[in-house]
């Protein structure tokens, strides 16, 4: 198996692992970490496709690679907005719960 197929399959598994964490972890910060893992799986898959496109003396197709750089920066910005939102949620409600129903203590 060549390296791009290996990492492409690895990326598919990463997307699954991230999705599992996103659904099962109750804490929003854990969901955010899991979502980032899912996103990185998508990036690796895209990167493997770029490697498959090696041609004309280039080791990989530079167009998807350039888009990946853009994607990583935008993912950081989105994560920063989510963290700020989360901190504000805790500041104003004293809980990080995403549940609809107030818990028994309220």
């Amino acid at each position: 198996m060549n390296v791009e197929t290996l990492f492409a399959l690895c990326a598919c598994a990463l997307v699954g692992i991230g999705l599992y964490g996103l659904i099962t972890q109750p804490h929003p910060l854990r969901k955010l970490v899991a979502f980032n893992i899912m996103g990185s799986g998508v990036f690796v898959l895209f990167g493997a496709l770029a490697k498959r496109g090696a041609a004309a003396g280039m080791a990989a197709d530079p167009v998807p690679q350039a888009l990946l750089i853009t994607a990583i920066v935008v993912a950081f910005a989105a994560t920063a907005v989510t963290v700020a939102l989360l901190l504000r949620l805790i500041e104003s409600t004293d809980t990080a719960s995403l549940a609809d129903e107030p818990s028994a203590g309220d």
């Binding site: 970490v33 990167g47 496109g53 990583i72 700020a84």
Partner: protein, 321 residues
């Protein structure tokens, strides 16, 4: 041998991802995520993406890790309550079936990819000399797909506006986060004096070398932002007020210069973001120079977060009147 190394890296990556997702407490999960980000840069090296590897190590591992670690510290008290909401066994089984199904469908798609793979590399190789830059990634980012990069710069500004708008009214215009107080003779303060000159040189080198070698404004901006954060964390300088004119000007100058160059292109080369013959390199350099301060400011200010102290109450009162 290369397959073996690749296999080991892939297994480690999967193990770390799984560990990060199921780890008992949030701090361990975030620590795992930082290591995962560093390992991911190795994957990018193996996938022949040195520029992507640099970006991943700097932003994916470094800045995102710092952001999440900061959040974990402030979320300590909420973890116990969240543990009570842990999903039941039924939900977990359904989630597992769904995740495995998604992974399997993706894997089947990967195995069914067409041969030979579609690629734009020959077109890039043919057109790159006309842009005057030697690094194909920089050529794509600032010439062939410049519109994407422009929109990205605008997205970053919007993200920063989003973070700032989460400030409570009374802190609007103030400074983000808490002021760091550390021992002025401690090791952190020492490092914060020693490292920035080196970091600035490395950052500027990456910025300048990005035209012909791996590197560029994003990687450079991250290193410069990290140096600024180090100085802030050591208590040597405070985070800037968000109503500072220089800060606000710096945040928008990159996208504005980018749009100006684009409009100039529409006038001289007949297309928005088009470059007239022989002028591609100077215009690309102009955009990069304008984008650098914007990226440094936005990356550092996103990490700083929403204003939390020192709001301008008088301005608020007069605006309410």
């Amino acid at each position: 041998m290369t397959t073996l190394v690749g296999g080991v890296v892939a297994l480690l990556l999967l193990w770390l991802a799984l560990w990060t997702v199921v780890a008992r407490d949030a701090f361990l999960a975030v620590a795992g995520f930082v290591v995962y980000g560093l390992l991911l840069s190795l994957v990018w090296v193996r996938l022949a993406g040195i520029d992507v590897a640099l970006t991943e190590a700097a932003i994916g591992g470094g800045l995102t890790g710092a952001l999440l670690l900061g959040a974990v510290g402030r979320l300590r008290g909420t973890e116990v309550a969240a543990a009570a909401e842990r999903s039941g066994a039924g939900t977990r089984v359904v989630a597992m079936v769904l995740s495995v199904a998604v992974s399997v469908v993706l894997a089947l798609c990967v195995l069914a990819l067409p041969e030979p793979a579609p690629t734009l590399a020959p077109q890039v190789a043919r057109m790159l000399p006309s842009t005057g830059v030697g690094n194909p990634i920089t050529g794509v980012l600032l010439a062939f797909r410049a519109l994407d990069t422009l929109l990205e710069a605008i997205v970053l500004v919007i993200a920063l506006v989003g973070v700032w708008s989460l400030a409570p009214d009374r802190f609007w215009g103030g400074r983000p986060g808490l002021r760091y107080m550390t021992d002025p003779d401690g090791i952190l303060a020492y490092l914060a004096r020693l490292l920035p000159p080196i970091g600035i040189v490395v950052g500027m080198y990456l910025f300048w070398a990005g035209a012909d070698h791996p590197g560029g404004k994003f990687q450079s901006a991250t290193i410069l932002a990290a140096m600024w954060m180090l100085v802030q964390m050591a208590g040597l300088a405070d985070a800037p007020r968000i109503d500072n004119r220089w800060v606000r000007g710096g945040v928008v100058i990159g996208p504005l210069a980018f749009v100006a160059v684009g409009v100039l292109g529409a006038w001289t080369a007949g297309a928005f973001l088009g470059y007239p013959d022989g002028w591609a390199k100077p215009m690309i350099v102009a955009i990069e120079i304008a984008l650098l301060p914007t990226l440094v400011l936005i990356l550092a200010l996103l990490l700083n977060g929403a204003p939390a102290r020192g709001g301008d109450l008088t301005a608020l009162r007069s605006s309410r009147r």
